[in-house]
């Protein structure tokens, strides 16, 4: 059971990191004049 929890925590953390990449990318899109 604990193994499933720790693998899930790992995947969750990497999922957050992936979302963070997308967020940093989106901030840089400038609005059209």
């Amino acid at each position: 059971m604990l193994d499933i929890i720790f693998v899930a925590i790992t995947l969750l953390l990497f999922g957050v990191a992936h979302a963070y990449v997308e967020a940093c990318n989106r901030v840089n899109v400038r609005p059209k004049p």
Partner: protein
Amino acid sequence: MSTNGWLQIGLFFCLILVIAKPLGSYMTLVFEHRKTWLDPVLTPIERLLYRATGVTSEQEMRWTEYLVSMLMLSAVTTVLSYAIERLQSFLPWNPQHLAGVAPELAWNTAISFTTNTNWQSYTPETTMSYFTQMVGLATHNFWSAAVGLALAIAFIRGIARREMKTLGNFWVDMTRGILWVLLPLSTALAVALISQGVVQNVRHYDSAKLVETQKLTPTGPDAAAAASDITTQTIAQGPVASQEAIKMLGTNGGGFFNGNSAHPFENPTPLSNLLQLLAIFLIPAGLTVTLGQMTGSPRHGWAIFSAMSVLFLAGVFTSYWAEARPNPLLNNTAQSESSGQAGGNMEGKEVRFGIANSALFATVTTDASCGAVNAMHDSFTPLGGMVPLVNILLGEIIFGGVGAGMYGMLIFVILSVFIAGLMVGRTPEYLGKKIESYDIQMAMLYLLIFPLVILGFAAVAVLSPTFGLSSLTNHGPHGLAEILYAYASATGNNGSAFGGLNANTPWYNLTLGISMFIGRFLMLIPMLAIAGNLAAKKSVPATAGTFPVTTPLFAALLTGVIVIVGALTFFPVLALGPVLEHLLMGAGKSF
């Protein structure tokens, strides 16, 4: 302090100065895909690897693709290491029949090695099998170092490129970093270490009969039943030299044995100690030359080298000075230096290395994000122990970890250029690129995540008697320093520790694991975002108003910015920890 000690420190620094240029030039050739003398051997292996894994080596990646590739590799290898640790009792090369590692410890260790931290909440020789050490952990020493190297090269390309959307190919940079840089260097170093007596085998542990029987007399309710005579000593073995080499070159730092580089099988002689010290700084120092060459401004690379050198020398001077002084609490004891007495604080230090080499090692291992130790940092004097702590809190950018030190330093370079621009009222420029709001936003994200994690978790830990303070051996300001050091070391991906804190508890295993993850991945994401943004920019010609980044003035400004940012962020907690402990030591109190 002795002349002999200073000569050894001077020799170390001169060797780094001499090696930096040839190694840096070699890395430029490797990452610009130019000809090197290893090509006839390595190019066929490289092609075979790409064919086997389906990598299209000509395909360039945007910064987001580069990062997602890196995250995928890291996620898969973290889970793989976790599985190996848990299942080691069913896997080969386990002559001691060690059981599977407990879940929270296995997870903490998997994250620790993936993030290049190598924080170890366990005793390796009684916890990890040879298979786990070699396949589950030492492979990470290569991967995590190569990831750092690849990201630093991608950042440098971001500075060097003009109006491009891509930064290179992550898989190609990883492969070339391992094949051309890490493998040849670590093979040569492993052989050199074996020549000095570092062991390399997969044998069952040896057993030696003690000359004198030792009596074990425990205390507590079951003391009488547990009392016994000890007549033999177990001497742990293992494939140490092969792991030791990449442990230092990759600035990983995870020891094969609990004693790390203080153990005679890991670091037997003064020469092996010098080789290990050199191995830590080798690639980070070389990268300053690579930066200068790839961006077309070699003097800029040397300006950064100078700033790093000033901070390094300040650290090693302070550490050596603090450790070589007599301990005021040992009043009536002879502590002056003589032919038969090292003088100063020898607690926790190996006699064969002495004070100068212990102070130097502590400074080097925390300037870089290595974390290997040849002396116990927890036994240093308050100010001597504050040096490694401050080195980590400054972001480990004084040469720094493989790749990580360079990109961390480049964030400070951007900040310095920005501050210089503000002072004269002009748009800041860096090597022909205008530094704009997005770059500074991302730089601030990078700089703020670090203290937020360290101070946040440390604050919760010191307020929690049940899970934060319960595994702490020392109290008062030294106890605070131990907890602060643990979170600084984890978030900075260093891995060294103040050993008075037992971190093998659910709270510390989980929170230190999260700190390591954030300190690695959530910091390098904004860093590479800056690189991607810089690569897309046009080049602007330098004018009379451009702040030159090749001069001593720039090196001084960079050094000042690093110190001021670090001091403003961490001075209050340092005042409550090591500074207060130092003052109380003078008043006769110890913790």
